[in-house]
């Protein structure tokens, strides 16, 4: 089935909506946009040009020359579903958002086809909600086009790139402090009445967690299996053990690392280095 037959189907399906705005029904063939027919195999690629199902829906609305505020849902729904049915299983990730929209449209369609309830509840009208969303999207899309017209750095104007002075000369300058620092420090001391009381203890992150995570990941990913003991960096002391343990927990949470059970760790036998107490915790790279 191709797009031409879809467009004609819409005509016959439109039973509940006022179609005064749909010029496509007056002269359907003439107003069928040429770019609406797409061979099925090219369809997924074609669909990727759209920023999403709302964008695609907006396109259909526009092509049909419909006023968004009085949009007839049914024909647009039919058109949309016909296109989506062309999506094959190779494009699941693309299909997700589009299928969600399709189910919304089907829900609206069935709502419209059912007889109207006598006493209207205060439930949200799904059609009104969809139109609201389409309007909000159209607004943002237009805003993004306006944003794109602003004079932009690194597209319309460019920062000047210059090099810094000779590196050796820069290095030589490093230890030169201004003697003003000394006298200024005395001034500061005087100006600060209660300076003795203001002792701050700044806690330095002696062993950054991110660094440990990176280091442990690297070691495990290369060698596959390590004991926890082997992963420690002796120079980091006791805090290093704590941070390493937290790092391992984090990696386990991300399912990158697992614990090798003691009895199943056969290679523990040949791996006799280290004391056997700490060797009990053997970690394995899972990714």
């Amino acid at each position: 089935m191709n797009a031409g037959s879809i467009a004609i189907n819409i005509d016959t399906n439109d039973s509940t909506q006022s179609n005064s705005n749909l010029r496509i029904y007056q002269t359907p063939v003439q107003h069928l946009p040429a770019d609406l027919y797409v061979p099925p195999q090219a369809f997924a690629i074609w669909l990727e040009q759209f920023a999403g199902p709302l964008d695609f829906l907006l396109y259909l609305v526009k092509k049909n020359n419909v006023d968004l505020t009085q949009m007839p849902i049914l024909p647009i729904t039919e058109q949309y579903l016909a296109y989506i049915s062309e999506l094959d299983t190779d494009h699941f990730e693309l299909a997700g958002d589009y299928l969600l929209m399709a189910s919304t449209l089907i829900a609206i369609k069935s709502e419209l086809l059912l007889p109207k309830r006598q006493n209207p509840t205060d439930e949200r009208d799904p059609k009104a909600e969809l139109i609201e969303r389409l309007e909000a999207y159209a607004q943002i899309k237009e805003a993004s086009l306006r944003l794109d017209t602003l004079v932009r750095l690194e597209r319309d104007v460019f920062l000047a790139l210059v090099s810094m002075p000779n590196q050796d000369i820069m290095q030589a300058e490093l230890p030169s402090y201004s003697p003003n620092l000394l006298i200024e420090s005395l001034f500061k001391m005087q100006l600060q009445a209660n300076y003795q009381l203001q002792t701050h203890t700044v806690k330095v992150d002696a062993v950054p967690l991110a660094d440990r995570i990176a280091s442990i990941s690297r070691q495990l990913s290369i060698n596959g299996v390590h004991s926890f003991y082997q992963l420690l960096d002796r120079s980091q002391g006791r805090i290093g053990v704590v941070v390493s343990f937290v790092a391992v927990l984090e990696l386990m949470k991300r399912q990158l690392v697992g614990v090798l059970k003691a009895d199943s760790a056969i290679n523990n036998e040949k791996n006799s280095e280290g004391d056997h107490q700490t060797n009990k915790l053997t970690l394995q790279w899972l990714a």
Partner: protein, 206 residues
């Protein structure tokens, strides 16, 4: 060029062109502002981000008046070359003057950074509706937000996470940054192009 925000003047000037810092007894030397303008030019080139008037004054121990005169001299000197001194949301920066953009675009097309529609739409939702959560963006755009787009926006420094929405899962709130304003030549969010009104976008039959 005139947005010198701090009217207080408590400066002593210690700069001379060729060695810095150094005591300079002749405080009213005619070349003084010329020399300051050279130092400012150096700092603007060496800084990784635009410099505010107050930070320049602090780095070089300048009064408001001195800064203003030196900036005027700098601007004049730059007029002979190809750079222009521009004031952005986060301060002064040096850029290649507009009239040379075409030459750069022609010779180094790779310097022209293009933004995809998806990225621009995401950025617009954040800019116009901030603060927003990831799912707010997904709702407006009707698409699952790809981590690649957010990564690019974070990498450019155009958006930050700040605070949480008080709903289930306490999702992080996204905002635009001063760097976003800098990149789009805006001084504040008020200057964003007006949001098109619903009536205009509603009648898509144009």
């Amino acid at each position: 060029m005139t947005n010198l925000d701090n009217p207080k003047d408590h400066s002593t000037n210690n700069n001379s062109k060729n060695n810095y810092p150094k005591g300079n007894p002749e405080d009213h030397h005619p070349d003084k502002h010329q020399s300051i303008s050279l130092d400012i030019e150096v700092l603007l080139h060496a800084s990784e981000a635009p410099l505010t008037a107050s930070s320049i004054r602090q780095y070089l121990s300048l009064s408001t008046k001195e800064l203003q005169l030196a900036l005027e001299i700098l601007q004049q000197r730059l007029d002979d070359g190809v750079l222009s001194l521009t004031e952005t949301a986060s301060g002064y920066r040096l850029q290649v003057a507009d009239q040379y953009s075409a030459l750069i675009q022609q010779v180094f097309p790779q310097r022209q950074q293009r933004l995809s529609q998806a990225l621009l739409e995401t950025l617009s939702v954040i800019a116009y509706k901030q603060p927003v959560t990831r799912s707010d963006i997904e709702y407006v755009r009707g698409v699952t937000l790809s981590s690649g787009i957010l990564r690019q926006l974070f990498d450019k420094g155009w958006i930050i996470e700040e605070g949480y929405k008080d709903t289930l899962g306490r999702p992080a709130l996204l905002h635009t940054t001063a760097q976003f304003l800098d990149a789009f030549g805006l001084t504040d969010l008020e200057q964003l192009p007006p949001m098109p009104d619903l009536a205009a976008v509603g009648s898509v039959s144009n």
